[in-house]
């Protein structure tokens, strides 16, 4: 029986050893991604990044690391609120880059980021997102109030996009009429996008980047300029950073022409719109 147990345990022991990642291992490394300087020259940073920014921020990280071989950035992705909680509870991290500026406001209130280090990587411009080809002929906010149009919105108070949609509809005086057509309130930006992408609703008020995330399924209709409320994707140095200079370097890179080009490639607006 014991020899059988040994035979069962041995392969797992080997797996654990492999997972611990010795020198040259390409497998998952078990050591913590601690923000400690490996040498005075070599620096390892931790960035807490909103999940929606994963593609451009990962690409920007790769480009930055190529230009700065002594700096390595470990990125973790998730909901902006969860990331902020992880960062503050653990008192760890060098860069905070939430999905929208309201979470950065919260981070500043909590003193989780260093004041004065905040910079804007990209702008989020609200649009009416409809199914590809716009089969319901939705061309304005007024059309969202038409009988028979099925609308989805992000939840007010829980998602930044929900607050923005609320402001837009109030500005247009359509709050009551459009909300009669709303069948669901999404709990995140990506859920809002998926509502229209999967055909659950005819339209949502979303961000301009949604079109890039699902080009085969989504078309966007601009919102009248006077009602547009712009938000942004900011980045700031964490208050817990032990390498704030290196962290600031990466944030400066994100907002440089090269960094902006990467965000633009992924469908984000990198210049403030004329409103």
């Amino acid at each position: 029986m014991f020899s059988k147990l040994r035979r069962a345990v041995l392969p797992l022991g080997i797996l654990v050893a492999a997972g611990c990642g010795g020198a040259g291992s390409t497998g998952p490394k078990m050591e913590p991604p601690s923000a400690t300087a490996r040498t005075p020259q070599n620096v390892r940073l931790i960035a807490f990044v909103g999940a929606a920014s994963k593609p451009p921020s990962s690409e920007a990280r790769d480009a930055f690391e190529k230009a700065h071989p002594n700096i390595t950035i470990d990125m973790t992705f998730g909901g902006s609120g969860t990331l902020l909680n992880q960062m503050t509870l653990e008192e760890i991290g060098d860069i905070y880059m939430p999905g929208s500026d309201d979470y950065m406001d919260k981070a500043e209130e909590k003193q989780a980021v260093a004041l004065g280090t905040r910079k804007i990587a990209a702008y989020l411009i609200p649009m009416i997102c409809v199914q590809r080809g716009n089969p319901k002929g939705i061309h304005s906010l007024e059309d969202l109030a038409r009988p028979g149009i099925v609308v989805g919105l992000a939840e007010t108070g829980a998602v930044c996009l929900g607050d923005v949609a609320d402001e837009i509809l109030r500005s247009a005086g359509l709050e009551e009429r459009v909300k009669k057509n709303v069948i669901t309130y999404a709990r995140s930006c990506d859920q809002t996008q998926q509502l229209v992408q999967l055909g659950e609703v005819d339209a949502v008020i979303g961000w301009d980047a949604f079109k890039h995330w699902a080009p085969d399924d989504i078309d966007v209709v601009p919102i009248a300029r006077q009602h547009v409320r712009v938000r942004s994707i900011p980045a700031a140095v964490s208050a817990y950073s032990r390498q704030p200079e290196a962290a600031q370097k990466f944030i400066d890179f994100l907002t440089s022409d090269e960094g902006k080009a990467i965000f633009a490639k992924h469908g984000y607006s990198v210049a403030p719109p004329q409103t």
Partner: protein, 274 residues
């Protein structure tokens, strides 16, 4: 006589058909969404997103951590199950309910609870002074999986131990076997079916763990990004990639579970053979 037995056989076939028809709605309900998921994955999408190193790394990390979590659950869960099965004491109901708690606790809440305990706000600060960090590391994945998946094993194992006749254990003792030997030679083999079933469910639950892992271990690609987390991070901006990853996880899990049942079943048949 022949006529009666033929009628009985026809009756059995009829009952089997009715039972199968009654089982069909649930089977279809369980299988149809999964088939739909797999059907939406085109080879081109699969090649683009799943064959990349990050997906392979996430799958490998999931398989590795779920297996380690299972090993830990078996080692620490078996004594708990045995204790609950064979001993009566005051507060047993409370212990029993405590073991069930992870089943009702939302996984994200479990993640925060683990983060508060093992993180900087809990014993994490002390651990870090001894050069050990748990939160936001692969170790946190394993601990999160152990937390959410252990009830599946403990409950099954307990039921298995309870089903072993007391007389057989007593007979073993009267023949001179100590408690350890009785457990290894009598109780464990007779409860093997339940132990294996619990282990399979625990492994499967650990493999699919998402909420607690995301909060407690983070989503560092190549380090703490398991398959469920990779599916989540991709679903935000690239739904086809997320669906391809999910299909892969379903297919790999199905293959491993079938293989585990087959191997375990064969071993059990050999072990229980007279």
């Amino acid at each position: 006589m022949l006529h009666t037995s033929a009628r009985r056989a026809a009756g059995r076939v009829g009952a089997a058909t009715v039972t199968a028809l009654l089982a069909l709605p649930l089977l279809l309900y369980l299988v149809a969404p999964i088939l739909g998921l797999i059907a939406r994955t085109t080879p081109a999408v699969w090649i683009s997103y799943v064959c990349c190193w990050q997906a392979v790394s996430a799958l490998r990390l999931s398989l590795l951590t779920a297996s380690i979590a299972l090993l830990i659950v078996v080692i620490v869960g078996t004594p708990v199950a045995y204790w609950l099965a064979h001993h009566d004491f005051r507060g047993k109901g409370v212990i029993d309910t405590l073991i069930d708690l992870p089943l009702v606790l939302p996984p994200v809440t479990a993640g925060f609870a683990l983060l508060l305990l093992f993180g900087n706000q809990g014993i994490g600060a002390w651990l870090q002074t001894h050069h050990l960090r748990i939160s936001l590391t692969p170790l946190a994945i394993v601990l999160a999986q152990v937390f959410v998946a252990s009830p599946f094993y403990v409950k099954q194992a307990r039921a298995g131990f309870e089903a072993v006749p007391r007389d057989l254990r007593l007979a073993s003792a009267t023949l001179g076997a100590g408690p350890g030997r009785t457990f290894l030679r009598v109780t464990a083999p007779l409860a093997s079916h339940a132990l294996v079933a619990g282990a399979v469910m625990t492994w499967a639950r650990a493999l699919g763990e998402f909420g607690a892992t995301l909060v407690f271990a983070g989503a560092f690609p190549g380090r703490t990004e398991t398959m469920p987390i990779a599916i989540y991070t991709h679903s935000t901006t690239n739904l086809p990639a997320a669906i391809a990853l999910a299909s892969t996880l379903v297919i790999v899990s199905f293959a491993v579970l079938i293989l585990a049942r087959e191997i375990a079943g064969r071993r059990l048949r050999i072990a229980l053979a007279p």
